[in-house]
């Protein structure tokens, strides 16, 4: 991938937060996308992988303008598209398209396939019938036709040879030169070209829809049928045809094959690759299936909790993952589809809430290669038990708790005590903590017992946390066009793969 040319789309420090600002008191916003930057180049497929809830769909939608960006920019052809409105926004929407995961939900069951595919055409009043005149500076006249703008391709080109007008029509349009009559009138020097298209716009749209169905491997009689009469794979083809209707050059494909059986999935993937070559499309391919992404993507961005933690050429990343999260993700692919040679690195727990992401590295709470502080010499198993205890406090702090809790507390009843003892005992029973560490845990439990679970978690973080809990890592270059956001890439630390291997052995 050459980075010299101008990217089709350039995403800079993009943030998308949900639920921001309430009238009285609002919870902290959901940080779905939290500072993402990357470029997408013409003709490439950028894969975007990550677990559900990591913000990959929101990122795709924000790039297209379907979600409002909270901060940052998405630049296409020199314009920040997050700021567009009105006419300019409509124009941008014609250049891009989206294919959704679930064709059942994204296709209206009450419309025929023909209507579905024509809907974007109607909504944008396609075709625009832009007329360009070659050979003279001329005025354009006629119903439904407009002069071509500087950034657009002409649908109808009129070449003037004296008083003769020769008409050519852009190939992609279902229109021939015979459907267009052009004449020239001259008054006071500047010629006026009058253009009349004899085919109705609705007819052109209809023929375009037939053409689209053919392009995605459906036949003419599918035009009159309803989505429920189709198989999953065929419905996804309809979704693709609709996305292509307005001749976009960039598509966001949001899990387009996740709902399909493997044999059907393979055909849709082949179709998407064929269309990309034929039409010169650029794809952002969102998926949680890492094998699919390996097959289709030129570069891959790995997303975790609103951040892109690693980004690089697909084969490089799959062969030699740099970020601990990428390692865990690849090692979790079941069966021989996993490129990871070592044992499976099973992550503990689930990602933290995007309302309350960790202050430092977003992956710090689950990282199998987390940097440990130098103050303690503990076996890895004990570190993990302490991590888990902190997660327990954090989870408790977030849970609403029972409605009776405040009342119980008011009358002096022990709310958290009874089950807390048991949980701590379960977690730490088999571990030999040094006396100092023991007293930190005691202090944390004391706070939790007083109802301050957040404080308890904080106490543990102060004592057992490390740089990973405080600093958001910068991107480190791992090779050409390949970055990874992990503090372990800094000089002086043991490498990610070595650390994980050593620790897995230790547990």
């Amino acid at each position: 991938m050459t980075t010299a040319e101008t990217p089709v789309i350039s995403v800079e420090k993009l943030k998308t937060y949900y639920d921001e600002g309430g009238y009285v008191r609002s919870p902290p916003p959901v940080k779905a996308v939290d500072g993402v930057s990357f470029d997408i180049h013409k003709g490439e497929t950028m894969g975007l992988v990550g677990e559900s809830g990591c913000g990959k769909t929101t990122l795709g939608r924000t790039i297209l303008g379907l979600n409002r960006a909270t901060d940052g920019t998405v630049t296409a052809a020199g314009t920040d598209v997050t700021e567009l409105s009105g006419h300019e926004r409509r124009r941008w929407q014609r250049r891009v398209g989206m294919v959704f995961q679930d064709p059942d939900e994204s296709l209206n069951d009450r419309m025929t396939v023909g209507e579905i595919v024509q809907e974007p055409l109607q909504s944008h009043d396609w075709p625009f019938l832009r007329v360009g005149v070659e050979g003279a500076d001329a005025e354009i006249a006629g119903n439904d036709v407009v002069p071509v703008g500087p950034d657009d391709a002409a649908d109808i080109t009129v070449r003037l040879h004296g008083d003769e007008a020769e008409v050519t029509v852009r190939e992609a349009l279902p229109l021939s030169g015979e459907d267009v009559n052009a004449g020239v009138e001259r008054s006071d020097g500047r010629p006026t070209v009058s253009v009349a298209v004899t085919k109705a716009k609705s007819e052109i749209r209809r023929e375009r829809a037939f053409g689209l169905l053919d392009q995605v491997g459906l036949s003419e009689d599918h035009f009159y049928r309803y989505p429920h009469q189709f198989s999953g794979g065929q419905r996804q083809r309809v979704g693709i045809a609709r996305a292509l209707a307005l001749e976009p050059d960039f598509l966001v494909l949001d899990e387009p094959v996740s709902a399909l059986d493997v044999s059907v999935q393979a055909r849709i993937i082949n179709l998407l690759e064929d269309l990309q070559h034929e039409l010169g499309l650029t794809y952002l391919f969102i998926a949680h299936d890492l094998s699919v992404v390996r097959h289709i993507a030129d570069r891959v961005a790995v997303m975790y909790l609103g951040n892109v933690v690693e980004l690089g050429p697909t084969e490089d990343v799959y062969e030699n993952p740099a970020h601990p999260y990428t390692v865990s993700l690849l090692s979790a692919i079941p069966g021989s589809g996993s490129p990871w040679e070592g044992g499976r690195v099973t992550l503990r727990g689930t990602p933290p809430s995007p309302r309350d992401p960790p202050a430092g590295c977003p992956f710090a709470t689950r990282c199998p290669a987390k940097i440990r502080p130098d103050d303690w010499m503990l076996p890895e198993r004990t570190w993990r038990a302490l991590d888990e205890l902190r997660v327990v406090f954090r989870t408790r702090a977030r849970a609403e708790g029972s409605a009776a809790d405040p009342v119980k507390r008011l009358v002096g009843l022990d709310v958290a005590g009874e089950d807390l003892e048991e949980t701590v005992a379960d977690l730490l029973a088999e571990h030999d903590l040094p006396a100092e560490a023991e007293s930190v845990v005691e202090a944390a439990i004391e706070r939790a017992r007083a109802g301050d679970d957040a404080g308890a978690a904080e106490r543990l973080r102060e004592a057992f946390g490390s740089r990973c809990d405080e600093e958001h890592p910068d991107g480190h270059d791992r090779g050409e066009d390949w970055t990874s956001e992990c503090l372990r890439h800094e000089p002086g630390y043991e490498g990610v793969a070595e650390t994980i291997a050593a620790r897995e052995e230790d547990t």
Partner: protein, 337 residues
Amino acid sequence: MNGVAPGGTHEHNPLLSVRDLEVVFHTEHEEIHAVDGVSFDIHEGETVGLVGESGSGKSVAARSILGLVDSPGHIEGGSIEFRGDDLTEDNWDAHRGDIAIVFQDPSSSLNPVYTVGNQITEALRIHQGLRGTEATEEAVSLLEDVGIPDAPRRVEEYPHQLSGGMQQRAVIAMALACDPDLLVCDEPTTALDVTIQAQILDLLADLQRASDLAILFITHDMGVIEDATDRVNVIYAGEIVERAPTGPLFERPEHPYTRALLKSIPGRTEPDERLPTIEGEVPTPTGPAEDCRFAPRCPKAFADCERTVPEHVSVGEDRTAACLLHDPAYDGGGDSA
């Protein structure tokens, strides 16, 4: 069956033995033979996979083992023997609790208005007669067994307060509450993320090691099959077309369908290559089999395939395939491999 038992060679009697199972759905227009002559065995402590695409009948086969096939579906033939008792002769109640099932979507298996603890203690009361504190303590210990941290607190929580992976763990805890000998897992990880899927697969393997549990694993995901099972049955349009120990099946699939299915999985081919595909759709079996149902899509089909129902023949140690290419009685156009 040409002398090859559908469960491989074992010294002991199988825990579960399904023979020639027929499940037919009668609809207004047609009858659908969703499961059409399926046979397989499961032994104690073993994980058997049933893998196929949607519409292959794998879930219906799984549900019929628990007597969960709803009208208009009926078991119309064959037997399901559990410890020697034929369940289809209405013996389900006698073995209720011996067989448990975990479904794909954990949120549909949990009642949203009861706490997780309530739902587990209910199972404990019904199947083990535990009540009160005893039941609650057992529920907490089950939740701990399935790796839910802070179980004493979580037992008080409602399903919506748990993440998807935690919900599936709770469902597995519920299934374990009846102390089953056989756990039927119907796509238990399909709705989960890959890292959570890895956790659940590890959990199932741990549980099996600890208790000699037999697991029937139903999925469409070949990768999961490869990791989680000891033996595999590949099902296509209601019929098992190949059965084999897991390792050999992946090394050398013998049925053309298995071969095509494995090839169409991305990530196993070179990234620049086009994915090999299987043309056509999985047919809906609307009548008894009269031919090989895969023949219309099979790259190696020959004339006999369209008029003969292939029998399972041995294609190696402990493995069979229902394909005329492997049947010495037919000359299927030369080299079958």
